[in-house]
Amino acid sequence: MRNRFPGSMIGVAIAAVAIGVVVSVSVTGTSAQAPAQALKTPWGEPDLQGIWTDETTTPLQRAPRYASQEFFTEEQRAELDKQRSELLGRNKRVERGTELDVAGAYNAEFVSVKRTGARTSMVVDPPNGRMPPRTPEADKIMAADREFRLALLQSTETCKNKSVACNGGKYDPKPSARRTELPPRYNTARMNRFDGPEDGALPDRCLTLGLPEFGANAGSFRRIVQTPGGISIFYDVGQGQGWQRNIIMDGRPHLPANIRQWYGDSRGRWEGNTLVIDVTNFSPKTDFQGSRENLHLVERWTRTGPDTLAYEVTIEDPTVWTRAWATKQDFTLQNGKENRIYYEPRCNEGNYGLPGLMRGARTEERAFADGQGPHPATKDIATDFVGVEDNPFE
């Protein structure tokens, strides 16, 4: 998952500190056991309040080598922790002065590492821990999108060197004619062109992605505040970005279909001690694993103990996946007095990255036109991380 790095390394640092302090707290692992009766608000609703985070890292999908194994053994976790902590702070570089070295500037030096989680994957259904197959139509759309991005990369060193970012494409010194085309559908990810803001990834534009919120490199925090019949959740997703949702709890229907939102429309209800939230009305500008306006989520939030909360999501989009699928995470309560949550998203207020990327592109075009520089299509401004890091989960 592409993350946003300009601006707030503070967010990462704080997350790292918080995580460092609490790493020893163990995750309860499995499921909604009978919650203690005391975990109710004064007005009698289940009490989900506080700052919550997943203190461990679990990959979304299970590596095929674990087959149907749902939980790591202690030995496997220890081994993964060892391999992953060896990456921590490793300043792996490729040949200095190359584009790839610059693109890898945000390597493991900058990334905090949390302990390996109990589960082999967040995906718990299908039982193989992997997303279900995509529909043929969705495959076609994804392929067309990929083909377009590869065309924009074809004249770069990235393709010349057969870097993984060019997988499926081939090197051609002649810039693609597709550089003047629109992408096959509304762009949400970085591409090797910056004609205008829409060529940037949504995080470049401070249009942070929303639900389902699974946390990127540094994880994410959510503060829940409740009132009788009302719930507000504020998400700190790192890098100075965050967003909020206010859950409608009175049983009224979803918004009309013509109202689409970045964070969808959340309708909640209590099922016993579980908060069940139905989320629809997503904007076609959002993208979760290829799913856009037809994404339908059912979240289940269950307080499982004084410091633990189980978070389960059922994910459905018949235009993208051949069946619904489900994930599960365990959140741990954070110290409320320390209050280490970044509840002031101010990405837009310090976004020098986006104008800088566009100004850079204009400068390169002018240099090329004046015979002072290479064709802009031969430079790769879209790729980062590639070839620099290893992922022991894979």
Partner: protein, 322 residues
């Protein structure tokens, strides 16, 4: 010259605001039931939970002012201040671009007690509204401006926290009724610590930066800002909201604003997103496109040509940090 290229941007911003309001109003589906009934008290204290909005002109100008033709004006046929006409950036909006008059919300003599050098900055701010007002860039509104923007906000009141969620740009405030550590850095929205005086919620707000404004008239503060807010429920649907504003860098003495906040009583009311950084993208970054996108507008009585420009050198970065 500077004014002209931005004309359509203002149109966009104001239309966006108008559409926001229309969208809210047009959700007239029959609700299953009214908004969840709220108890009068939480933990024995007045309950402010619900969706609220100011209904006044404070976001235009905190101080008492007569209506004026636009937020940006130029000299008219007469050389008098009272006879100015709209300037190019807002001309096409006609009367919809005018600033409504108000008796103001500043208590006492109605004037903000600026130090002389600060008053000069306020006047420059007003003259350069389009380049400087953070609202046009969809920057965070700051406190107290968030409370009287022309957008609703939601209060979720618990026993230890009072959370405020604003429709405008995903802005949030958490008022801590319990003990917490402050933020590691200065902030736009401030760090809010509340206490009860009877049924009045009194909130101390500190840790501000110097970037937010109070209104579209250029009223401003420094990072020494300290607010004392008082929330009092006047009736089930009206909060009396009072703020004492202290900032020795900018004002000669503390001053106070006060206004009612009204409950959005529509039974199907909910906060809808107003993610305006997307709406402000053309305004802020359109000058950096490979090919200019918003160039020309033709009506029956007016043609507007937009010329974008990129500020040179350091001014490029200064623009984004203003």
């Amino acid at each position: 010259m500077r004014g002209r290229f931005l004309l359509s941007m203002i149109v966009v911003a104001i239309f966006a605001a108008a559409i926001g309001a229309v969208v809210t109003m047009s959700v007239t589906q029959t609700p299953v039931q009214a908004q969840a009934a709220q108890p009068a008290a939480i933990d024995g204290k007045a309950n402010f939970s619900g969706i609220w909005q100011a209904n006044n002109e404070a976001n235009w100008d905190l101080e008492a002012h007569a209506a004026r033709p636009a937020a940006v004006t130029q000299q008219g046929a007469y050389p008098y201040d009272y006879a100015r006409v709209p300037a190019a950036p807002v001309l096409a909006l006609g009367a919809a671009g005018a600033v409504p008059g108000s008796l103001g919300v500043v208590q006492g003599d109605g004037q903000i007690p600026y130090k002389p050098e600060a008053l000069a900055i306020k006047q420059q701010n007003a003259a350069n509204w389009i380049d400087r007002d953070p609202e046009l860039k969809c920057y965070l509104p700051g406190t107290p401006r968030a409370m009287y923007l022309p957008h609703p906000f939601q209060i979720t009141q618990s026993t230890n926290k009072v959370h405020l969620a604003f429709a405008y740009s995903n802005t949030a405030r958490t008022i801590h009724l319990d003990q917490v550590e402050g933020p590691p850095d200065n902030t736009w929205m401030g760090h809010s610590v509340g206490r009860w005086e009877g049924d009045t919620l009194v909130v101390d707000v500190t840790n501000f930066n110097d970037r937010a404004w109070f209104d579209r008239a250029g009223n401003f503060h420094s990072d020494a800002l300290h607010l004392t807010e008082r929330f009092t429920l006047k009736s089930p649907d009206v909060i009396w909201y009072e703020v004492t504003i202290e900032d020795p860098n900018v004002y000669t003495r503390p001053w106070t604003i006060a206004m009612p906040l009204y409950r959005r009583a529509e039974p199907n009311m909910q906060l809808l997103e107003f993610r305006c950084n997307e709406f402000a993208e053309e305004f802020m970054y359109g000058n950096l496109r490979k090919e200019q996108l918003v160039k020309r507008w033709e009506g029956e009585t007016m043609t507007i040509d937009i010329t974008r420009k990129v500020p040179p050198g350091d001014a490029f970065y200064e623009y984004y940090s203003k």
